[in-house]
């Protein structure tokens, strides 16, 4: 796959272009023309998506976009109205046993069984997957998720963030090659977020495919190599994170001026004004030269200057604001 060179390459194309997956790799997840309605509401409208084995994939979108609905279909928690979904090549309906053995899902809702302790819950979950003695792996997961001192505590007595960790642990008991995390860091403190991500990254390096939904876009930007953006049940962007970042036209130039005023000629470029600063939108570096020339001509000195890179949040907002 050709990498785009330089930060100012032309905008990447969205949606219309299928993801570049080399043929030697198996698709960890294959979604073909999947639709789902709830009464009059179309939650998913013809989703096509392939996620390759070993990818760290981000599924982004505003509230109600259909992320959880798509995950539920993949997990067999809900049935599609049309289309097919497969995990590691196994259809989630016809080959549900094979598909489910290969999939671990961390649900968005904080659900738990109040009858059991952390270790009991994990042992029972292992049993559902046909694993009789899973003690050493359970201990490892408990350790990695920093749950060791709560292992024999009843689920009811855990804090929200701890319950979330148990959900992650439960999704991993059967060592699934494909792991889907639906907003795993909602309500989780900074320290654990770091622990959690280093653990998930380790799993990813070990070959596990990771699919992540989150509303913390900086998290997605750092972690995910490829991202799909969902809006009202349709994929509106699908590309590598880098291409998405490159796709946003223009950078921002923030200037602190003395005197604190912007020459008339530069006014059209202004997109924001702080108390002592102006933010201009520029299309390329050459424009910086022009800005500097204008300022010199007007006899205005630059006290400080900052070139801001667009982040995923900006990309997200731009894509979501398109019709």
């Amino acid at each position: 796959m050709a990498r785009k060179i330089g930060p100012f390459s032309s905008a990447a194309s969205f949606a219309s272009i299928p993801p570049a997956i080399s043929s030697c790799m198996t698709a960890a997840i294959e979604i073909r023309d999947v639709s789902k309605r709830f009464g009059a509401l179309t939650a998913l409208a013809g989703i096509d998506l392939d996620i390759a084995e070993g990818e760290f994939f981000g599924l982004l979108g505003p509230n109600g976009a259909g992320k959880t609905t798509l995950i539920n279909l993949l997990a067999g928690l809900s049935l599609a109205d049309s289309g097919t979904l497969a995990v590691m090549g196994f259809d989630v309906v016809n080959r549900y046993r094979d598909a489910r053995r290969r999939l671990g899902v961390v649900p968005q809702e904080l659900v738990f069984d109040p009858f059991f302790t952390v270790r009991e819950a994990l042992t029972i979950q292992s049993g559902y997957f046909g694993i009789r003695d899973n003690r050493s792996w359970i201990d490892e997961v408990i350790h990695h998720l920093d749950l060791a001192d709560k292992a024999d505590t009843n689920m009811r007595a855990l804090s929200g963030g701890m319950k979330r960790r148990v959900l992650v642990a439960q999704a991993l008991v059967h060592k699934p090659p494909v792991i889907v995390l639906d907003e795993p860091t909602a309500g989780v403190d900074v320290a654990l977020r770091q622990t959690l991500w280093s653990f998930i990254r380790k799993l990813n390096r070990g070959g596990h495919t990771i699919v992540l939904t989150t509303h913390y876009l900086e998290e997605a930007e750092i972690l995910c190599s490829r991202i799909a953006m969902l809006k009202r049940g349709a994929i509106v962007a699908l590309d590598s994170t880098q291409n998405l970042l490159n796709s946003v036209s223009g950078r921002r130039l923030k200037l602190w001026l003395k005197p604190n005023e912007l020459p008339l000629a530069l006014r059209p470029m202004q997109i924001a004004k702080g108390e002592k600063s102006f933010t201009l939108k520029i299309e390329d570096y050459a424009e910086i030269e022009r800005v500097m020339a204008e300022l010199r001509m007007a006899g205005i000195a630059v006290q400080e200057l900052e070139l801001q890179q667009p982040d995923l949040e900006e990309v997200f907002l731009q894509i979501m604001s398109r019709q």
């Binding site: 997990a75 067999g76 928690l77 809900s78 049935l79 549900y96 046993r97 094979d98 489910r100 053995r101 999939l103 899902v105 649900p107 809702e109 659900v111 738990f112 069984d113 109040p114 009858f115 029972i124 979950q125 049993g127 559902y128 997957f129 046909g130 694993i131 009789r132 439960q170």
Partner: protein, 256 residues
């Protein structure tokens, strides 16, 4: 040798057993106590006036009926309340995410319901033994009806648990279907003592056959032949199981 599938089923069954056993005071002791209270009240009020079968005292007559009623109600309560609780709290997804077949799901819930129902029934009988003389002519007949009856109500409990979305819907199911069917099944009387019309109606109530057949196991006398009762109950259990399995397979209300 057990296959991974076997372990999945065994785990779900074990979990369903644990679920009621951990709170056995409410799930086993309390219903035993309720049945004993019924016994105390009814036998005190009616002992002098009623003799249903020749040579069988009313209190003795009452015990198998009350035991069977407890078996049926608790088998139903076990699967239905477990399911509705998992649905309402959302932790049903842990089983739905697992590679369990609808058969494994069905068997685990039905068997756990049978165990709870029969545990309560046994409790009722054992605790009355010191006070009331009770025959047990055909223990295998009694066992057969206990097993079939609790299985049937366990399956019905699954259906109710799948169908109900809230606890009060489940309560309605219990109050408007299970309770009338058990009370009108001849727990407290022999249907021969009823007027003709009500006798006919009773013959359409499958609960009547469960109670009557179970009672036959104790006294060796019954309103209808135990073979016929067994056929009716087994057929109902079979039909209801097929329906439950179909619902589970289709994902009705569980995988929407």
């Amino acid at each position: 040798m057990s296959s991974p599938g076997m372990t999945g089923f065994a785990t779900l069954f074990y979990k369903e057993l644990l679920r009621f056993w951990k709170v056995s005071f409410q799930t086993v002791m309390a219903p035993v106590l309720t049945a004993l209270l019924y016994l105390l009240v009814f036998s005190h009020a009616l002992e002098q006036h009623v003799e249903v079968f020749d040579g069988v005292r009313y209190t003795s007559f009452l015990i198998p009926g009350l035991a069977m009623m407890a078996i049926l109600q608790n088998a139903f309560a076990n699967s239905s309340s477990s399911l509705i609780q998992s649905k309402v709290t959302g932790n049903i997804i842990f089983t739905l995410l697992a590679p369990l077949s609808h058969w494994e799901f069905f068997l685990a819930y039905v068997l756990a319901a049978m165990v709870r129902g029969c545990a309560v029934g046994l409790g009722v009988i054992v605790l009355t033994l010191p006070f009331v003389q009770l025959d047990l002519h055909y223990p295998l007949w009694a066992l057969l009806f206990a097993v079939l009856g609790s299985g049937l109500l366990g399956a019905l409990g699954i259906i109710a648990g799948i169908w109900a979305e809230k606890f009060d819907q489940l309560a309605a199911f219990q109050n408007f279907i299970i309770l009338p069917l058990t009370f009108l099944s001849g727990v407290f009387y022999s249907i021969h003592s009823l007027p003709g019309f009500w006798q006919t109606i009773s013959h359409f109530n499958p609960f009547f056959y469960m109670i009557d057949g179970f009672r036959f196991g104790f006294f060796g006398v019954s309103d209808v032949s135990p073979y016929f009762s067994a056929a009716v109950v087994a057929t109902s259990f079979f039909a209801l199981s097929l329906l439950t399995l179909r619902l589970l397979k289709s994902g009705y209300k569980l995988r929407q």
